[in-house]
Symmetry: C2
Amino acid sequence: MTKILDGKKIADKILSSLRKKVEKEKARLKLVVFLFGKDKVNEIFAKQKEIACEKAGINFEKIFVPKSVKIKQLEKEIKKVSEDKRTSGIVLQFPFPKNFPSQKVIDLIPPKKDPDILTSENLGKFFSGELKCLPPVVKGVLYLLKESKVNIRGKKVALVGTGRLVGLPLAVFLAQKGATVLGLNKHTPDISFFTRNSDIIITGAGKRNLIKGEDIKKGAIVIDGGYSFFKGKLVGDVDTKSVLGKAKYIAQVPGGLGPLTCACLLENLFVQNCS
Amino acid sequence: MTKILDGKKIADKILSSLRKKVEKEKARLKLVVFLFGKDKVNEIFAKQKEIACEKAGINFEKIFVPKSVKIKQLEKEIKKVSEDKRTSGIVLQFPFPKNFPSQKVIDLIPPKKDPDILTSENLGKFFSGELKCLPPVVKGVLYLLKESKVNIRGKKVALVGTGRLVGLPLAVFLAQKGATVLGLNKHTPDISFFTRNSDIIITGAGKRNLIKGEDIKKGAIVIDGGYSFFKGKLVGDVDTKSVLGKAKYIAQVPGGLGPLTCACLLENLFVQNCS
């Protein structure tokens, strides 16, 4: 029997506990999300953040910027928003426009208003293991692994996809915790060979049905952290049907890592402003 | 036939080319190395840096600090040295004293005087792929891989040891370049299973004879980046004798990655001060 790791349920618990803390501290927090152009994908992700903010009693603001925005103009805008005392945290919503100097723009966010842990300063402190907050996706995975009562140390973890938002921060963190980290990507000659030999499989590839039942070993923990769109619906990287009955635990898309990552973003926002 | 990757020879080429650049720019550069206590290990590593500096026409200064140094005192000292215009770069020589707040102290070094790429700011920029300089050990491995004419993308690379000085920065960089990265450590149940399935094996464990001929596949590239002491001599992680004839290339200890890392440190020093 495969148990479903219900990320949404855990996220709701986090958010309701966060709401209590926010109320107790009488904290007036606000998350500001920049979106580049009107786009189905970034609107979905911004909406998830908006709903999470509502649940946690945190204000939310969306700022649309045209995809063709000049960097100078954007700099000015981010500076204005970040200097506003009402702003507790800023998120630049992926995807970014093409040829966008991402890190340079992200580094305009003050590290203490960066709940996504994407500024150079925060990333560097995370890398050296000295940051109080974790990148939201890392914290989200931790919650799911806690739920599945697994000890990370000594476990073989396949990361399917090693991009900077999911795979890479997880690789760093899990290696620091003593896991054997198998960082796979589209150039890996035989992904299945490695996933079949793994205790935990975490995907972040954005390719539907990339991981099937035959690609995992019996009793594995599968966390689907990918997303793409199929027939207008958000789907993950894992063919859930074929994995059911073989995996011990699975976190699916939607309702798994996504809502948890959102909740962890807001936990960071609270820690950066209220402790 | 196994070819020896002669790190020392490549390092000497780098240093002599660096000397020409330093002379052309009439640059007066100085590397300052802090050593914590008098210790065989840190003295050996400081000596290697001193010799490399001589070859490149760069001044060198060693500052001994007692292992029991109070952080306040050390802060003052690092601040004084870093504000001195004659200082081009500062290295805090590992190993550090026990219970030493490493990152906090490292972050006292201005990022532009940090050729080791260990300050949070530099690490973060490295992580996001936006830094001109690479951590010296990463650059050193790149030189060795270039010498062995291998294309990183799609290759399976076993990192034996995922510490913050060797394995972790290599994991990040190699994953960014499209390699399949297998991050192994002392908790990995069967290191040999993964190394036998790898095209490239890079060690940084500090355990003599950890990797033997039976642990690699025929034609593998082996880069020994570990160190420990045996009968008073510096030794690596690889049992070189048993690997000869099976590996295609090997970089040994001593004379492999070590001198190259030193040379790359000084390349960074030059770039941070003269471009």
